[in-house]
Symmetry: C2
Subunit: 257 residues, 2 copies
Protein backbone atom coordinates (compact mmCIF):
# COMPACT_ATOMS: atom_id res chain seq x y z
CA UNK A 1 0.00 0.00 0.00
CA UNK A 2 1.34 3.22 0.71
CA UNK A 3 4.05 4.48 -1.30
CA UNK A 4 5.76 3.58 -4.40
CA UNK A 5 3.91 0.71 -5.54
CA UNK A 6 4.04 1.14 -9.09
CA UNK A 7 7.30 0.43 -10.60
CA UNK A 8 7.57 -3.05 -9.44
CA UNK A 9 6.81 -5.78 -11.85
CA UNK A 10 9.67 -5.09 -14.03
CA UNK A 11 13.25 -4.90 -13.28
CA UNK A 12 15.20 -6.66 -10.70
CA UNK A 13 13.88 -7.99 -7.57
CA UNK A 14 14.97 -5.64 -4.93
CA UNK A 15 11.56 -6.79 -4.00
CA UNK A 16 11.12 -6.30 -0.32
CA UNK A 17 7.47 -6.49 0.70
CA UNK A 18 5.96 -3.30 2.04
CA UNK A 19 4.96 -4.98 5.26
CA UNK A 20 8.56 -5.93 5.80
CA UNK A 21 9.86 -2.45 5.05
CA UNK A 22 7.43 -1.08 7.62
CA UNK A 23 8.94 -3.33 10.26
CA UNK A 24 12.59 -2.70 9.53
CA UNK A 25 12.66 0.51 11.57
CA UNK A 26 11.27 -1.45 14.48
CA UNK A 27 14.01 -4.02 14.29
CA UNK A 28 16.54 -1.31 13.88
CA UNK A 29 15.45 0.39 17.03
CA UNK A 30 15.59 -2.81 19.02
CA UNK A 31 19.00 -3.59 17.59
CA UNK A 32 20.31 -0.14 18.38
CA UNK A 33 19.30 -0.62 21.98
CA UNK A 34 21.13 -3.93 22.08
CA UNK A 35 24.12 -2.37 20.44
CA UNK A 36 24.24 0.30 23.11
CA UNK A 37 24.31 -2.40 25.71
CA UNK A 38 27.14 -4.02 23.80
CA UNK A 39 25.23 -7.19 23.19
CA UNK A 40 27.11 -8.99 20.44
CA UNK A 41 24.47 -11.33 19.05
CA UNK A 42 20.75 -12.02 19.28
CA UNK A 43 18.52 -14.87 18.30
CA UNK A 44 15.42 -14.25 16.24
CA UNK A 45 13.42 -15.15 19.28
CA UNK A 46 14.99 -12.51 21.50
CA UNK A 47 14.99 -9.80 18.90
CA UNK A 48 11.43 -10.54 17.96
CA UNK A 49 10.38 -10.17 21.57
CA UNK A 50 12.16 -6.85 21.80
CA UNK A 51 10.53 -5.60 18.65
CA UNK A 52 7.12 -6.90 19.54
CA UNK A 53 6.63 -9.31 16.65
CA UNK A 54 6.86 -13.03 16.37
CA UNK A 55 10.06 -14.74 15.46
CA UNK A 56 8.91 -16.51 12.33
CA UNK A 57 7.88 -13.20 10.86
CA UNK A 58 11.17 -11.65 11.79
CA UNK A 59 13.18 -14.43 10.18
CA UNK A 60 11.08 -14.22 7.05
CA UNK A 61 11.58 -10.48 6.97
CA UNK A 62 15.35 -10.83 7.27
CA UNK A 63 15.39 -13.48 4.61
CA UNK A 64 14.35 -10.83 2.12
CA UNK A 65 17.45 -8.85 2.94
CA UNK A 66 19.79 -11.80 2.61
CA UNK A 67 21.24 -14.41 4.89
CA UNK A 68 22.74 -12.35 7.62
CA UNK A 69 22.38 -14.80 10.47
CA UNK A 70 24.36 -17.79 11.65
CA UNK A 71 22.52 -21.02 12.28
CA UNK A 72 22.77 -22.21 15.79
CA UNK A 73 23.92 -18.80 16.90
CA UNK A 74 21.77 -15.91 15.82
CA UNK A 75 22.46 -12.52 14.31
CA UNK A 76 25.45 -10.28 14.81
CA UNK A 77 23.99 -7.10 16.21
CA UNK A 78 26.40 -4.57 14.70
CA UNK A 79 26.33 -6.18 11.33
CA UNK A 80 22.55 -6.27 11.24
CA UNK A 81 22.32 -2.65 12.33
CA UNK A 82 24.47 -1.73 9.41
CA UNK A 83 22.61 -3.86 6.90
CA UNK A 84 19.21 -2.59 7.89
CA UNK A 85 20.40 1.01 8.00
CA UNK A 86 21.78 0.65 4.54
CA UNK A 87 18.62 -0.99 3.28
CA UNK A 88 16.54 1.83 4.69
CA UNK A 89 18.82 4.44 3.23
CA UNK A 90 19.86 5.76 6.60
CA UNK A 91 23.56 5.64 6.03
CA UNK A 92 23.11 8.91 4.26
CA UNK A 93 21.80 12.12 5.65
CA UNK A 94 18.32 13.25 4.68
CA UNK A 95 17.55 16.92 4.99
CA UNK A 96 13.92 17.45 5.93
CA UNK A 97 11.76 20.54 6.06
CA UNK A 98 8.82 20.95 8.37
CA UNK A 99 6.05 23.21 7.16
CA UNK A 100 3.62 24.60 9.68
CA UNK A 101 5.20 25.45 12.99
CA UNK A 102 2.25 25.34 15.31
CA UNK A 103 2.10 23.12 18.34
CA UNK A 104 2.63 20.01 16.35
CA UNK A 105 5.31 21.40 14.09
CA UNK A 106 7.23 22.58 17.11
CA UNK A 107 6.87 19.19 18.72
CA UNK A 108 8.26 17.60 15.60
CA UNK A 109 11.14 20.04 15.41
CA UNK A 110 12.04 19.19 18.97
CA UNK A 111 11.60 15.49 18.50
CA UNK A 112 14.97 13.89 18.98
CA UNK A 113 14.14 10.81 17.00
CA UNK A 114 14.64 12.68 13.78
CA UNK A 115 18.15 13.80 14.21
CA UNK A 116 19.25 10.56 15.71
CA UNK A 117 18.64 8.44 12.69
CA UNK A 118 19.71 9.84 9.38
CA UNK A 119 17.43 12.82 9.33
CA UNK A 120 18.32 16.44 9.74
CA UNK A 121 15.84 19.25 10.10
CA UNK A 122 17.08 21.55 7.37
CA UNK A 123 14.45 24.21 7.81
CA UNK A 124 11.24 25.19 9.53
CA UNK A 125 8.69 27.04 7.47
CA UNK A 126 5.56 28.88 8.46
CA UNK A 127 3.11 31.19 6.78
CA UNK A 128 2.81 33.52 9.72
CA UNK A 129 5.14 36.52 9.28
CA UNK A 130 5.22 36.93 13.04
CA UNK A 131 6.96 33.60 13.34
CA UNK A 132 9.73 34.47 10.92
CA UNK A 133 13.09 34.56 12.59
CA UNK A 134 11.90 33.08 15.83
CA UNK A 135 13.95 30.08 16.74
CA UNK A 136 12.21 26.80 17.43
CA UNK A 137 14.37 23.95 18.61
CA UNK A 138 17.29 26.18 17.83
CA UNK A 139 16.33 26.66 14.21
CA UNK A 140 14.97 29.98 12.98
CA UNK A 141 11.58 29.77 11.35
CA UNK A 142 11.49 30.98 7.78
CA UNK A 143 8.59 32.46 5.92
CA UNK A 144 6.78 30.33 3.41
CA UNK A 145 7.38 32.83 0.65
CA UNK A 146 10.85 31.36 0.45
CA UNK A 147 9.72 27.75 0.39
CA UNK A 148 10.96 26.95 -3.09
CA UNK A 149 14.32 28.50 -2.53
CA UNK A 150 14.78 26.70 0.77
CA UNK A 151 13.96 23.36 -0.78
CA UNK A 152 16.35 23.89 -3.61
CA UNK A 153 19.19 25.35 -1.63
CA UNK A 154 19.13 22.45 0.77
CA UNK A 155 18.45 19.70 -1.71
CA UNK A 156 15.44 18.61 0.28
CA UNK A 157 13.47 15.65 -0.96
CA UNK A 158 11.43 14.88 2.14
CA UNK A 159 8.85 17.28 3.51
CA UNK A 160 6.69 17.16 6.60
CA UNK A 161 3.35 18.92 6.54
CA UNK A 162 2.00 20.02 9.90
CA UNK A 163 -0.27 22.81 8.76
CA UNK A 164 -4.02 23.06 9.26
CA UNK A 165 -5.98 20.89 6.85
CA UNK A 166 -7.03 23.83 4.75
CA UNK A 167 -3.49 24.74 3.82
CA UNK A 168 -2.11 21.27 3.33
CA UNK A 169 -2.84 20.67 -0.33
CA UNK A 170 -1.44 24.01 -1.41
CA UNK A 171 1.70 23.45 0.62
CA UNK A 172 1.98 19.97 -0.79
CA UNK A 173 1.71 21.27 -4.34
CA UNK A 174 4.45 23.78 -3.75
CA UNK A 175 6.71 21.22 -2.10
CA UNK A 176 6.26 18.85 -5.00
CA UNK A 177 6.80 21.53 -7.58
CA UNK A 178 10.00 22.50 -5.81
CA UNK A 179 11.35 18.98 -5.93
CA UNK A 180 10.11 17.15 -2.86
CA UNK A 181 9.21 13.55 -3.63
CA UNK A 182 8.28 12.18 -0.22
CA UNK A 183 5.79 13.72 2.14
CA UNK A 184 4.78 12.93 5.67
CA UNK A 185 1.38 14.43 6.23
CA UNK A 186 -0.05 15.25 9.62
CA UNK A 187 -2.93 17.31 8.34
CA UNK A 188 -6.23 15.49 8.29
CA UNK A 189 -6.77 15.74 4.56
CA UNK A 190 -6.36 13.59 1.53
CA UNK A 191 -3.45 14.90 -0.44
CA UNK A 192 -3.37 14.51 -4.17
CA UNK A 193 0.08 14.16 -5.63
CA UNK A 194 1.60 13.27 -8.96
CA UNK A 195 2.73 9.75 -9.59
CA UNK A 196 6.18 9.13 -8.25
CA UNK A 197 5.60 11.08 -5.09
CA UNK A 198 5.09 9.13 -1.88
CA UNK A 199 2.81 10.32 0.84
CA UNK A 200 2.42 8.79 4.25
CA UNK A 201 -0.05 10.16 6.70
CA UNK A 202 -0.29 10.21 10.42
CA UNK A 203 -3.75 10.88 11.67
CA UNK A 204 -4.34 11.20 15.34
CA UNK A 205 -8.08 11.16 15.40
CA UNK A 206 -8.26 8.15 13.14
CA UNK A 207 -6.16 6.15 15.54
CA UNK A 208 -8.42 7.10 18.38
CA UNK A 209 -11.47 6.13 16.43
CA UNK A 210 -10.06 2.71 15.76
CA UNK A 211 -9.43 2.28 19.46
CA UNK A 212 -12.96 3.38 20.20
CA UNK A 213 -14.28 0.71 17.92
CA UNK A 214 -12.49 -2.02 19.81
CA UNK A 215 -13.29 -0.45 23.12
CA UNK A 216 -16.95 -0.48 22.30
CA UNK A 217 -16.77 -4.09 21.32
CA UNK A 218 -15.18 -5.02 24.58
CA UNK A 219 -17.96 -3.35 26.46
CA UNK A 220 -20.49 -5.23 24.43
CA UNK A 221 -18.82 -8.55 24.94
CA UNK A 222 -18.72 -8.22 28.66
CA UNK A 223 -22.41 -7.93 28.65
CA UNK A 224 -22.71 -11.32 27.06
CA UNK A 225 -21.03 -13.39 29.67
CA UNK A 226 -18.59 -12.38 32.26
CA UNK A 227 -16.77 -15.55 31.50
CA UNK A 228 -14.10 -17.04 33.56
CA UNK A 229 -11.50 -17.20 30.94
CA UNK A 230 -8.28 -16.59 32.60
CA UNK A 231 -7.42 -13.03 31.92
CA UNK A 232 -3.97 -11.96 31.35
CA UNK A 233 -1.04 -13.65 29.97
CA UNK A 234 1.07 -11.16 28.37
CA UNK A 235 1.01 -10.17 24.82
CA UNK A 236 2.74 -7.57 22.91
CA UNK A 237 1.43 -4.66 21.15
CA UNK A 238 2.11 -4.30 17.59
CA UNK A 239 -0.46 -2.62 15.56
CA UNK A 240 0.65 -0.73 12.66
CA UNK A 241 -0.01 2.75 13.58
CA UNK A 242 -1.03 5.08 10.96
CA UNK A 243 -2.69 3.05 8.42
CA UNK A 244 -0.61 3.75 5.53
CA UNK A 245 -3.01 4.09 2.83
CA UNK A 246 -2.51 4.76 -0.75
CA UNK A 247 -0.22 7.25 -2.21
CA UNK A 248 -2.24 9.90 -0.78
CA UNK A 249 -3.45 10.36 2.61
CA UNK A 250 -6.79 10.86 4.05
CA UNK A 251 -9.78 12.78 3.82
CA UNK A 252 -11.16 16.14 3.42
CA UNK A 253 -11.67 18.37 6.09
CA UNK A 254 -13.64 19.05 9.15
CA UNK A 255 -10.88 20.78 10.77
CA UNK A 256 -9.37 21.41 14.00
CA UNK A 257 -9.49 24.57 15.81
Amino acid sequence: MATGRTHRPATRSRGIPEATVARLPLYLRALTALSERSVPTVSSEELAAAAGVNSAKLRKDFSYLGSYGTRGVGYDVEYLVYQISRELGLTQDWPVVIVGIGNLGAALANYGGFASRGFRVAALIDADPAMAGKPVAGIPVQHSDDLEKIIQDNGVSIGVIATPAGAAQAVCDRLVAAGVTSILNFAPTVLTVPDGVDVRKVDLSIELQILAFHEQRKAGEEAAHSDGTGPAAVTREESDASADQGPDGDVPAVMPA
Copy 2:
Protein backbone atom coordinates in the same frame (compact mmCIF):
# COMPACT_ATOMS: atom_id res chain seq x y z
CA MET B 1 -2.52 -5.91 14.25
CA ALA B 2 -2.82 -4.98 17.72
CA THR B 3 -5.93 -5.53 19.45
CA GLY B 4 -6.76 -8.48 21.41
CA ARG B 5 -7.93 -10.77 18.88
CA THR B 6 -9.54 -13.96 18.80
CA HIS B 7 -10.99 -14.59 22.14
CA ARG B 8 -13.86 -16.84 21.53
CA PRO B 9 -15.01 -18.11 18.22
CA ALA B 10 -17.50 -15.43 18.42
CA THR B 11 -21.00 -16.27 18.59
CA ARG B 12 -21.99 -12.91 17.45
CA SER B 13 -19.55 -12.33 14.73
CA ARG B 14 -19.82 -8.65 14.33
CA GLY B 15 -16.98 -9.67 12.10
CA ILE B 16 -15.73 -6.55 10.45
CA PRO B 17 -12.21 -6.97 9.04
CA GLU B 18 -9.53 -4.86 10.66
CA ALA B 19 -8.60 -3.31 7.36
CA THR B 20 -12.15 -2.13 6.99
CA VAL B 21 -12.33 -0.74 10.50
CA ALA B 22 -9.19 1.25 9.80
CA ARG B 23 -10.88 2.90 6.85
CA LEU B 24 -14.19 3.73 8.46
CA PRO B 25 -12.84 6.93 10.04
CA LEU B 26 -11.68 7.98 6.61
CA TYR B 27 -15.11 7.51 5.13
CA LEU B 28 -16.66 9.21 8.08
CA ARG B 29 -14.55 12.29 7.61
CA ALA B 30 -15.38 12.49 3.93
CA LEU B 31 -19.05 12.04 4.68
CA THR B 32 -19.00 14.69 7.37
CA ALA B 33 -17.59 17.15 4.87
CA LEU B 34 -20.36 16.28 2.43
CA SER B 35 -22.91 16.59 5.16
CA GLU B 36 -21.70 20.06 5.97
CA ARG B 37 -22.17 21.02 2.37
CA SER B 38 -25.65 19.57 2.61
CA VAL B 39 -25.04 17.01 -0.08
CA PRO B 40 -27.86 14.49 0.28
CA THR B 41 -26.43 11.42 -1.42
CA VAL B 42 -23.17 10.10 -2.83
CA SER B 43 -22.21 7.28 -5.08
CA SER B 44 -19.50 4.86 -4.07
CA GLU B 45 -17.40 6.33 -6.83
CA GLU B 46 -17.60 9.88 -5.52
CA LEU B 47 -17.14 8.99 -1.92
CA ALA B 48 -14.23 6.75 -2.72
CA ALA B 49 -12.51 9.57 -4.54
CA ALA B 50 -13.00 11.87 -1.58
CA ALA B 51 -11.61 9.30 0.79
CA GLY B 52 -8.73 8.36 -1.44
CA VAL B 53 -9.59 4.71 -1.95
CA ASN B 54 -11.10 2.83 -4.82
CA SER B 55 -14.79 2.30 -5.13
CA ALA B 56 -14.83 -1.48 -5.12
CA LYS B 57 -13.04 -1.49 -1.83
CA LEU B 58 -15.41 1.03 -0.39
CA ARG B 59 -18.46 -0.95 -1.43
CA LYS B 60 -17.01 -4.10 -0.01
CA ASP B 61 -16.26 -2.29 3.22
CA PHE B 62 -19.80 -1.00 3.49
CA SER B 63 -21.17 -4.42 2.75
CA TYR B 64 -19.78 -5.61 6.06
CA LEU B 65 -21.88 -3.04 7.84
CA GLY B 66 -25.06 -3.92 6.05
CA SER B 67 -26.89 -2.76 2.99
CA TYR B 68 -27.12 0.92 3.53
CA GLY B 69 -27.12 2.05 -0.07
CA THR B 70 -29.75 2.27 -2.73
CA ARG B 71 -29.01 0.68 -6.06
CA GLY B 72 -29.09 3.07 -8.91
CA VAL B 73 -28.79 5.97 -6.51
CA GLY B 74 -26.00 5.76 -3.96
CA TYR B 75 -25.78 6.30 -0.23
CA ASP B 76 -27.72 8.70 1.90
CA VAL B 77 -25.08 10.88 3.50
CA GLU B 78 -26.73 11.55 6.85
CA TYR B 79 -27.76 7.98 7.30
CA LEU B 80 -24.30 6.67 6.56
CA VAL B 81 -22.70 9.17 8.90
CA TYR B 82 -24.92 7.85 11.62
CA GLN B 83 -24.33 4.20 10.84
CA ILE B 84 -20.58 4.53 10.70
CA SER B 85 -20.48 6.65 13.83
CA ARG B 86 -22.45 4.06 15.63
CA GLU B 87 -20.31 1.25 14.35
CA LEU B 88 -17.20 3.04 15.52
CA GLY B 89 -18.71 3.75 18.87
CA LEU B 90 -18.70 7.49 18.39
CA THR B 91 -22.27 8.08 19.33
CA GLN B 92 -21.07 7.97 22.86
CA ASP B 93 -18.58 10.25 24.47
CA TRP B 94 -15.13 8.87 25.26
CA PRO B 95 -13.20 10.58 28.00
CA VAL B 96 -9.49 10.48 27.23
CA VAL B 97 -6.45 11.31 29.31
CA ILE B 98 -3.19 12.50 27.86
CA VAL B 99 -0.09 11.66 29.83
CA GLY B 100 3.06 13.60 29.17
CA ILE B 101 2.43 17.26 28.44
CA GLY B 102 5.55 18.21 26.58
CA ASN B 103 5.52 19.65 23.11
CA LEU B 104 3.68 16.72 21.69
CA GLY B 105 1.23 16.33 24.54
CA ALA B 106 0.37 20.00 24.28
CA ALA B 107 -0.11 19.66 20.55
CA LEU B 108 -2.47 16.77 21.13
CA ALA B 109 -4.38 18.67 23.79
CA ASN B 110 -4.86 21.49 21.36
CA TYR B 111 -5.79 19.25 18.49
CA GLY B 112 -9.35 20.01 17.58
CA GLY B 113 -9.90 16.70 15.89
CA PHE B 114 -10.35 14.98 19.20
CA ALA B 115 -13.15 16.97 20.60
CA SER B 116 -14.96 17.09 17.32
CA ARG B 117 -15.66 13.42 17.11
CA GLY B 118 -16.74 11.64 20.20
CA PHE B 119 -13.66 12.27 22.29
CA ARG B 120 -13.24 14.56 25.20
CA VAL B 121 -9.96 15.37 26.87
CA ALA B 122 -10.85 14.55 30.45
CA ALA B 123 -7.45 15.32 31.90
CA LEU B 124 -3.85 16.20 31.20
CA ILE B 125 -1.24 14.52 33.33
CA ASP B 126 2.45 15.22 33.73
CA ALA B 127 5.17 14.10 36.08
CA ASP B 128 6.71 17.53 36.38
CA PRO B 129 5.44 19.29 39.53
CA ALA B 130 6.18 22.60 37.88
CA MET B 131 3.53 21.88 35.29
CA ALA B 132 0.81 21.14 37.79
CA GLY B 133 -1.99 23.62 37.64
CA LYS B 134 -0.82 25.26 34.48
CA PRO B 135 -3.54 25.30 31.89
CA VAL B 136 -2.85 23.79 28.49
CA ALA B 137 -5.56 24.14 25.93
CA GLY B 138 -7.70 25.45 28.73
CA ILE B 139 -7.28 22.36 30.86
CA PRO B 140 -5.17 22.45 34.01
CA VAL B 141 -2.37 19.91 34.08
CA GLN B 142 -2.49 17.47 36.95
CA HIS B 143 0.35 15.68 38.59
CA SER B 144 0.90 12.05 37.84
CA ASP B 145 0.67 11.10 41.48
CA ASP B 146 -3.06 11.35 41.02
CA LEU B 147 -3.20 9.29 37.87
CA GLU B 148 -5.20 6.43 39.30
CA LYS B 149 -7.72 8.69 40.92
CA ILE B 150 -8.17 10.71 37.76
CA ILE B 151 -8.77 7.62 35.68
CA GLN B 152 -11.32 6.27 38.06
CA ASP B 153 -13.14 9.49 38.77
CA ASN B 154 -13.60 10.12 35.10
CA GLY B 155 -14.27 6.59 34.00
CA VAL B 156 -11.51 6.79 31.45
CA SER B 157 -10.85 3.77 29.31
CA ILE B 158 -8.67 5.35 26.65
CA GLY B 159 -5.26 6.79 27.42
CA VAL B 160 -2.76 8.62 25.27
CA ILE B 161 0.92 8.32 26.11
CA ALA B 162 3.11 11.19 24.99
CA THR B 163 5.92 10.81 27.46
CA PRO B 164 9.57 10.17 26.72
CA ALA B 165 10.31 6.56 25.82
CA GLY B 166 11.85 5.80 29.15
CA ALA B 167 8.70 6.58 31.07
CA ALA B 168 6.20 5.01 28.73
CA GLN B 169 6.04 1.46 30.03
CA ALA B 170 5.65 2.55 33.64
CA VAL B 171 2.89 4.96 32.69
CA CYS B 172 1.28 2.26 30.62
CA ASP B 173 1.32 -0.17 33.52
CA ARG B 174 -0.31 2.35 35.79
CA LEU B 175 -2.95 3.25 33.25
CA VAL B 176 -3.81 -0.38 32.73
CA ALA B 177 -3.88 -1.12 36.44
CA ALA B 178 -6.25 1.80 36.89
CA GLY B 179 -8.64 0.46 34.30
CA VAL B 180 -7.59 1.80 30.93
CA THR B 181 -8.05 -0.77 28.19
CA SER B 182 -7.04 1.14 25.07
CA ILE B 183 -3.81 3.01 24.62
CA LEU B 184 -2.53 5.28 21.91
CA ASN B 185 1.22 5.35 22.23
CA PHE B 186 3.41 8.12 20.83
CA ALA B 187 6.54 7.10 22.67
CA PRO B 188 9.04 5.21 20.58
CA THR B 189 8.94 2.01 22.58
CA VAL B 190 7.25 -1.32 22.40
CA LEU B 191 4.69 -1.51 25.16
CA THR B 192 3.85 -4.76 26.84
CA VAL B 193 0.29 -5.03 28.01
CA PRO B 194 -2.00 -7.73 29.38
CA ASP B 195 -4.30 -9.51 27.05
CA GLY B 196 -7.46 -7.60 26.42
CA VAL B 197 -5.75 -4.25 26.24
CA ASP B 198 -5.36 -2.65 22.82
CA VAL B 199 -2.37 -0.59 21.93
CA ARG B 200 -1.92 1.43 18.79
CA LYS B 201 1.25 3.31 18.20
CA VAL B 202 2.16 6.33 16.21
CA ASP B 203 5.80 6.59 15.51
CA LEU B 204 7.12 9.60 13.72
CA SER B 205 10.59 8.42 13.00
CA ILE B 206 9.38 5.11 11.67
CA GLU B 207 7.25 6.88 9.14
CA LEU B 208 10.19 8.93 8.03
CA GLN B 209 12.35 5.88 7.72
CA ILE B 210 9.83 4.21 5.50
CA LEU B 211 9.81 7.27 3.30
CA ALA B 212 13.59 7.25 3.20
CA PHE B 213 13.53 3.69 1.98
CA HIS B 214 11.40 4.59 -0.98
CA GLU B 215 13.25 7.79 -1.55
CA GLN B 216 16.48 5.91 -1.76
CA ARG B 217 15.03 3.52 -4.22
CA LYS B 218 13.90 6.35 -6.45
CA ALA B 219 17.35 7.82 -6.39
CA GLY B 220 18.84 4.49 -7.29
CA GLU B 221 16.51 4.01 -10.16
CA GLU B 222 17.40 7.19 -11.90
CA ALA B 223 21.05 6.44 -11.32
CA ALA B 224 21.33 5.73 -14.97
CA HIS B 225 22.71 9.15 -15.39
CA SER B 226 23.86 12.30 -13.82
CA ASP B 227 25.07 12.89 -10.38
CA GLY B 228 27.23 10.84 -8.23
CA THR B 229 26.42 12.89 -5.25
CA GLY B 230 24.26 12.10 -2.33
CA PRO B 231 20.58 12.55 -2.25
CA ALA B 232 21.18 16.00 -1.07
CA ALA B 233 21.64 17.59 -4.41
CA VAL B 234 18.77 16.21 -6.24
CA THR B 235 17.09 17.78 -9.08
CA ARG B 236 13.93 16.12 -9.73
CA GLU B 237 11.57 16.16 -12.55
CA GLU B 238 9.92 12.90 -12.90
CA SER B 239 6.43 13.11 -11.66
CA ASP B 240 4.15 12.05 -14.35
CA ALA B 241 0.86 13.02 -12.91
CA SER B 242 -2.21 11.02 -12.57
CA ALA B 243 -2.31 9.88 -9.05
CA ASP B 244 -3.62 6.43 -9.25
CA GLN B 245 -5.97 6.70 -6.41
CA GLY B 246 -8.67 8.69 -7.93
CA PRO B 247 -10.25 5.96 -9.98
CA ASP B 248 -11.81 8.62 -12.00
CA GLY B 249 -8.53 9.77 -13.29
CA ASP B 250 -8.69 13.39 -12.59
CA VAL B 251 -5.25 14.72 -12.74
CA PRO B 252 -4.02 16.53 -9.75
CA ALA B 253 -3.01 20.05 -9.92
CA VAL B 254 0.64 20.45 -9.56
CA MET B 255 0.89 24.07 -9.20
CA PRO B 256 1.42 26.30 -6.38
CA ALA B 257 0.45 29.80 -5.99
